[in-house]
Amino acid sequence: MSTNDPRLQTETLTLAYDKRVIVDRLDVRIADGSFTVIVGPNACGKSTLLKSLARVLKPRAGAVLLDGQAIASYPSKQVAKRLGMLPQSPVVPGGIVVEELVARGRFAHQKLLRQWSPEDEAAVAGAMRQTEVTDLADRFVDELSGGQRQRVWLAMALAQQTPILLLDEPTTFLDLSHQFEVLDLCADLHEQGRTIVAVLHDLNHACRYATELIVMKDGAVLAQGAPAEVMTEDLVERVFSMPCRVMNDPETDTPMVVPASRERRRAGSSRVSA
């Protein structure tokens, strides 16, 4: 491992479900301290990649390296102290209340004879406050709305207090204001020094919040870099087969993707001039 290798990267990573290869010999580096956002069309392998980064999916070949070592070679708890993930659709357990679920996020930090510490207490209370689920503490998780549940799962991942946090479509199920609350929260965590890797569908959210974009198609990385450099009309059309205009977001001075009108797209013009 050379000194400028990032904490999390892949090495000729091949991922497959049965015989269907999703990602083929991929090398990708997650810059330390970055807010990396992975975008790409449906079924491009972005969630699959994220799952393998969190060692939920075992590689067919190649490896995910965490701090220079294959992630599979660590004891499970060691990884869980460094890297956490908000999955896309976790199993919703019956009959468990919010506070208890969030508290289980402390599993990796606990031992048989040290099941609860003041740090655990503070981490759980803090995570619930940040995601605004403190008032839901005594509610059953399976009785919550989709949006509330999403925030509870996020609280559980935050309680884990890992320096690297992966999020698989964290804004799903959320209304507009809650989408931005979650993204703002990720930005806060990033500013506090954590490395954030999120899969997002909305390109404009991605451009606003990412310090680094990874654009994927068909299991390969087509572009990686700062949104202002990466997000061009050309690239969007190549990746999503969709003509559009890339403009300046007046609020944030970041690229803003505006899809071409239906008429223009129907006219078949592959380029849309401003």
């Binding site: 499970s76 869980a80 357990p93 919010v98 289980r104 606990q110 609860w116 003041p118």
Partner: protein, 357 residues
Amino acid sequence: MTAPGLHLTRVGGARRIVIGSRSGRLSLRMPFRSALAGTGLLLVSLGVSLVSLTSGDFPVPVADVLKSLIGQGDAGTDFIVQELRLPRVLITLLVGAAFGASGTIFQGLTRNPLGSPDFVGLTVGAATGALVVILLLGGGGFGVAIGAIAGCLATAVAIYLLAFRRGVQPFRLVLMGIGVSALLEAANSYLIYRAQLDEAVAAQVWLIGSTNGRGWTEVTLVGVAVVVLLPIVLYHGRHLDMLALGDETATLHGVPVERSRAVLALSGVGLAAAATAAAGPIAFVALAAGPLAGRLTRSPHAGILPGALMGAALLSVSDWLAQHAWPGGDIPVGNVTAALGGIYLTWLLVHERRRVA
């Protein structure tokens, strides 16, 4: 700083009890209700056991029982208490705890209240092993126990292999277990049909499940299983809680999923095998202990320890009923648990159906 000793904490609204040292290096945490329920169940088990030691054809006062237990009784009392009644009381406690723990484990692993060892064929397989020894090999006593353990382990392996298809889906495991269970029931009936009348009666009595007429051999058998396996499964108890959240979440939070599941399943099989070997396939204790303990502790699924204590309490009470509540006395405890379990199962199915609807 954590205060030394024992204190209650409140996060959100749920009260928890935390037992901790001043340095904070040692701290055990559990929901307040679990601690309360566990203590209650332990007291019930021990209380009923004490009553069982006093009652019978020769009533012995509580004071004399206690004297005998600490080695200061007279010879006659010692014989009644230690030789006649104590093995049965201990077997009841240990078998109940083993079934309760095993049931809670499998219900947790399969995420299904019907996924207990007496439902997915483990105890039926143990019975097949025992019947083979009783009826085909003409064995008794310890041989029957060995047969039961071998039958239980073989059944577990068979169900696992049959249910395996790129990993094991919990629901598939339960269905396969119910299928295998039906098949083994048929085999058991056939074995009994083929047998001589007196052997058939002996085998049938064994099948009901009883703690009567067992001695220190059986106490040792199930005692060793509980002493060795219970600490192992209690160590993995929190893993079971995490596995209930799904394999993905459990992995993300640092549970070695495959290994924990294997350890829990093997220990669960061992507990069920030893309990069945010692007392026969006593019905419904494994099925009912976990969910009843969960109801008492108001948690999604009971911890293994509350499940084990509930099992011990259920079987102690059932055994007392079997001995004393029936005119003409002493019926096999399996009859009592089967009757109570039938009522429980009906209630469970009605309740589950309502919840789904």
